[in-house]
Each structure stands twice: as C-alpha cells, then as structure tokens.
C-alpha cells in the first residue's frame, strides 16, 4: 500500500516537473525564434533552469523511494 502511495507521489512530482520543464523549453524555443543569435546563452540558461526544476522533482521522487 505504501508502495502504491509512493508511486502516486512520484507521479505527482513528475507532473509538476513536466509542466515546469515544458514551460521552460517552450519559452526557450520562443526566445530562440525571436533572437536566434542568442541561442547559446538561452540554451545554457534553459538547461540550468531545467536542472533546478528537475532537482525539485527528484526530491519528490526520492521521498517516494524512501516511503517505498
């Protein structure tokens, strides 16, 4: 039972992360489309931001693993 609740928690964490990274990716694409010359900088910052969000999501997953 704790296992399935943990899985639920992990899934919920992934939803949030998915939305977050999706937003970042989309905005980054828009930004690149608007300013193709700044592609490198945008990509770096996109990856950093995505990594930070991912970190938050991973916390959730680790907690889910711990609860498993």
């Amino acid at each position: 039972m704790t296992g399935s609740i943990a899985a639920l928690g992990a899934g919920l964490a992934v939803i949030g992360v998915g939305i977050g990274i999706g937003l970042i990716g989309g905005r980054a694409m828009e930004a690149i489309a608007r300013q193709p010359e700044a592609t490198g900088k945008i990509q770096t910052n996109m990856i950093i931001a995505a990594a930070l969000i991912e970190g938050a999501g991973l916390f959730g997953i680790v907690v889910a693993l711990l609860g498993n």
């Binding site: 770096t44 990856i47 950093i48 930070l52 991912e54 970190g55 991973l58 997953i61």
Partner: protein, 373 residues
C-alpha cells in the same frame, strides 16, 4: 526450479547482457522463494531484479552458465574490532540470504542482501545466521566497517584507469610536439577541455576561475566516463557507479566544501544578514539561506543519482518486458525501445556531467561574487 522467465528467455539469450542478468536474478529469486517453500513458481518480479542490479554487490556477476552464475570474485575488506579482515567474496558462494557463514580472522560473517554482518552463533528458523528485528524487519546484528572492493568500487577503479589512459597520453602528446595542432586523443580531448575551461569555468566563476579548472575538469570527466561505462551492457561496464548515492554524495561534498571555503564576505553576508531588508525578515531569511547552503549540493547529489539510476531502471525495465509478457515476440519492440533509451542515455550521460560541473561552477561563482547589488 526453472522460472517462466528462464524458459521464455532461451531465444532472447544474446539480446542483451541485461537480459541475461535479469534471467539470472529471476532464477536466483525463484530459487530463494522456493527454498522458503511457501510459493511454487514465483512470477518474475522485475522490480526486484532491477533493484538488485542497480544496487552494489560483493562479487561482479558476469553471466550465467548452465543456470550457475559466473562472477568475478572481489576482495571483501572489513575493518572489524580485531583489525582488518580480507577474504574473497567467492567464499559466500553467491549466498545473499545469510545462510552461509564465512570464517575469517577468527570471526564469522554473513552476507544478507549484499550487506555484511557479524554472524550469529546459531541459525534462526529460516537457516539465517542473524537476528531479525521483529518490528522493523531489519537485521539486528552488528556490522563491521565494510570497505570491500565491491562491484561499484571495481568499476570505479576501472574507470579511473580509463580516464588516466585517456588523458595522460594526450598530455604527453602535447609535451612531445608543443605548439602543433593536436593529434589523436589530444584532438578529441582538447575541445572538451577548452569547453569546460571556457563555457563552464570562465563564464560562471569569473576572473579567478583558473584554480578551479582542474577540479571541474576532473569532475566532468569522472562523471562522464563513469556514466558512459555504466551504459556499456557487459563486463567491465554496466555498473551503476554514478547512479550510486555514495558516489554522488562524495562529489556533492567536494562541491559543498569548495564553494563554502571560497565564499567571500559578501557571500556570507548575503546568507547570514541579507542587506537591504527589514531587520524582522533578516533572521528568517538567514535560516532559509542557511538551509540553501546544504540543499544546493544535496540537489546535485540527488540529481545525478536519480538520473543515472532512472536510466538504468528504464533500460532494465524494457529488457524485462520479454520476461513480463513471457514471449519472444515482444523482443523486437523491447530491443528497439532499449536502443532508443540507450541513445537517449548517451545524451543524458554527457548532459548530467555538464550540469553537475556547470552548477558547481555556478555555486563557486556565486560564492566568489564581488559586486554589490
């Protein structure tokens, strides 16, 4: 004792080493459950197999031969109350349930789920030489300090050798013909080194980046090579080194120490007494910022661990599809999906090495930032 998985996997034998491994573990686990004599023909449990793979182990399992696991025995090194004790992991005879006692250095040890305990004098009802805590279902026996060369340690040492073999000749070629265009390994290494130096160190740390470059380079290549070797499905790759939290913890601690040792007074000022805020808020923010010192490297640790472990889990899950559905007809899909994910993991291997190093550089840069806001 053949489990369905074993039968189903005869044709898929050469598909993937993971597949072979999965089969072994399936066999092992069905063995163990049969020994308990509570269930017959236990269904294949992918979660157990996968967890077993991504965890560390004494002895490096390579493949199976006639349903007998063939593995490389590794030295078990224990620091006990009576000093160092060393013996081969093969002395456990693949036992992970604590039923086989090894006597060494005048002491007795058992291996329970790859963790080594001092053995109890007599076996319990299940033939296990250990006492179980009835409430937590954990082994109550004492443990020696275990500094064995486990599978992950062996893989770690192997990758260290690979790294040295990669970079020392490259460095030598520079010495041999200075000011010439890089050739061979040096030509492969140089753009990466320059990338780490310029795009990671210089851009994020600032003017005093030079003394951090060796550390960042070592970090980057250590993580990257280990990630890549972890993706190699057969010996001596395939170990889950960077997907082990102990490894990522050490790397994160390096980041933590380097960041805070190099923190200047602005950095500490911003943490302990944030300027430009009402006094009432300052202590509150100090607490938050203080926790932040630890969460940053902690997230580094978790990120690398979770990404690499997740990659291994996905690959193994896809391979396990064959055994879950108990038919070979799934194997084309399984192999294709595994291939796809493996290629993705190649990207992730480089990306995670990049992110770890980049964020380390960013944290160091923030700690050394001189300007006033």
């Amino acid at each position: 004792m053949a489990s369905p998985a074993v039968l189903a996997s005869e044709e898929a034998h050469s598909a993937d080493e993971h597949a072979a491994e999965a089969r072994v573990h399936a066999a092992e686990h069905s063995d163990e459950h049969a020994a308990n004599a509570t269930e017959e023909k236990e269904a294949f449990n992918p979660a157990e197999v996968i967890m077993h793979h991504i965890a560390d182990s004494h002895g490096w399992h390579i493949f199976d031969w006639n349903d007998h696991p063939v593995s490389i025995p590794l030295p078990v090194i224990l620091y006990t109350e009576k000093g160092l004790v060393v013996f081969s992991s093969s002395e456990f005879h693949h036992d992970q349930e604590g039923t086989h006692v090894v006597e060494a250095g005048g002491q007795r040890f058992v291996n329970i789920h790859e963790k080594i305990y001092y053995a109890s004098d007599v076996a319990n009802d299940h033939g296990v030489f250990a006492e179980m805590d009835h409430e937590t279902h954990e082994v109550a026996n004492a443990t020696p300090w275990d500094i064995s060369i486990t599978k992950n340690v062996a893989a770690l040492l192997f990758s260290a050798v690979v790294i040295l073999l990669l970079f020392l000749p490259a460095a030598r070629s520079y010495k041999k013909n200075p000011n010439a265009a890089p050739k061979g390994v040096a030509g492969f290494v140089e753009p990466l080194v320059v990338f780490v130096r310029d795009d990671i160190a210089k851009n994020n740390i600032g003017p005093h980046y030079k003394r951090f470059v060796p550390m960042l380079l070592t970090m980057f290549f250590f993580i990257w090579i280990n990630n890549l070797l972890g993706l190699v499905p057969f010996f001596p790759g395939g170990a889950n080194v960077t997907g082990n939290i102990a490894v990522t913890m050490v790397l994160a601690i390096v980041t933590f120490v380097v960041t805070n040792v190099n923190g200047n007074k602005h950095y500490w000022g911003h943490i302990l007494w944030m300027p430009g805020l009402p006094v009432a808020v300052k202590p509150l923010l100090a607490i938050v910022e203080f926790i932040g010192i630890f969460t940053k490297p902690f997230s580094l640790m978790i990120r690398l661990f979770a990404n690499i472990t997740a990659g291994h889990i996905i690959v193994l899950s896809l391979v396990s599809l064959v055994f879950i559905f108990e038919t070979v007809w799934v194997s084309p899909a399984a192999v294709l999906l595994t291939l796809f994910i493996s290629v993705l993991e190649l990207l992730v291997a480089a990306l995670q090495a990049y992110i770890f190093t980049l964020l380390t550089a960013l944290y160091i840069g923030a700690a050394m930032h001189e300007e006033h806001h």
